[in-house]
Symmetry: C3
């Protein structure tokens, strides 16, 4: 079973072609490094528009069967930064531990990490994780939270994700 | 004045008798270790059903005068994990610091600690604290947050809880 | 351009003159230490009443053009502690990283730091930050979060705040 993983870059400027989407590409590259089980990316670059973000999250999960969707961009305090709100609007339950840990890790690099409002949540059987927009924070955030992701997908009855343990080690608690 | 403390285990399987409720028992044992002032447990094992959890929280606080209710179970990402939502639904105000600290402490043991969505909040004059479902995380979570609990109950005008300081030390700031 | 910064003390007792507002004064003193660019305080002491807090936040931001409003008081678990709820009610988006970091820093001093429910958020082009009520926690909380504040105000298109770098260093990421 090939896992499908959504990657959404929300950026008015990347959508308009003002610059290349380095962050979405960094997510794909990182996941290629991590995963040893079969998967394919479902990738989209969209504007920082709340309705569009919500519709894209729904489509990737409800129609395209993604078990995981990773977003980048739109997590800051500016007027057009609405990714966390769009995420919360489509989720059945929120996972506050992801945002807490990513901000804590990013704080080791920059004090402005507290401005990132990224969160995570569950829609149906899929996990949605917001990452910040800066390409260089993609890897540091994913390194922090990804060890918990395969077990989370197990609990949601999704595909069994396996990682290359020389790169990152997925943790699955022993069954009682 | 004997303090009444609610302990709720939310677990479909423990309710059905598939296994014993070790986690609820661990909460009672831990509180027996901690508290030197008189208290009595009000204990219930219920299914992972949101309406039942909400009704049980209300009953323990509004009818049975519990000043503190500690839950275990139902904090994960799975479909039947709804304890944080039930808790938030019956609370007047939320206490985000409890979940943050418990996840941070649990992260020292397992990277999947970020999957635990446990929270805490206030209903009327009572504090509700969610703990994860695994028996061995009960003590590590309570050890982290309990030093702040007696002062919180003071602020809610509840009974004066005293602890065995050789086990855990309650902290009460000096009055200005 | 002179930046206007709101300082709100919410305290029934300070409003009634039972004691002096040391905390609001500590915020003003701390900001005087920090800022080297021109600014002026807009200062008010009000009761712990949710409608009054909401109205005061709106007035300071919408009418008096404050780019930043710092509150002190009303963040605890007691019945009259409603500052975080009033803040959330008037904000367009929440900034969870501020509360997380301030609680983490305060935890180094007192285990009851988890009882503080302080948050931060954005209303229009202004940032609102809640601080706890105790005078001595004002400086430790502001020291933790203020390095990120000038860049946040930049992103909201507000005045360019400059700090005395011998006291505190504002961090602005390099533009891509």
């Amino acid at each position: 079973m090939t896992a499908r993983i959504g990657i959404i870059t929300t950026s008015d400027r990347a959508t308009a072609g003002v610059y290349d989407d380095l962050s979405g590409q960094a997510i794909i590259d990182t996941l290629r490094d991590y995963l040893s089980s079969p998967w394919e990316p479902v990738y989209k670059v969209i504007p920082d528009d709340r309705a569009t973000i919500e519709a894209t999250l729904k489509e990737m999960i409800d129609e395209q069967d993604c078990c995981l969707v990773v977003t980048t961009g739109g997590t800051g305090p500016a007027l057009r930064d609405v990714t966390p709100e769009a995420t919360e609007a489509v989720c059945d339950k929120m996972m506050p531990g992801f945002g807490e840990l990513m901000r804590q890790v990013s704080l080791q690099y920059v004090p402005t990490a507290i401005l990132s409002r990224q969160t995570a949540g569950i829609r149906g059987k899929a996990l949605i994780i917001n990452l910040p927009g800066k390409p260089k924070s993609i890897r540091e955030c994913l390194d922090a939270v990804f060890p918990a992701v395969p077990y989370c997908i197990d609990l949601l009855e999704g595909p069994y994700l396996e990682t290359d343990e020389s790169v990152i080690k997925a943790f699955r608690p022993k069954l009682k």
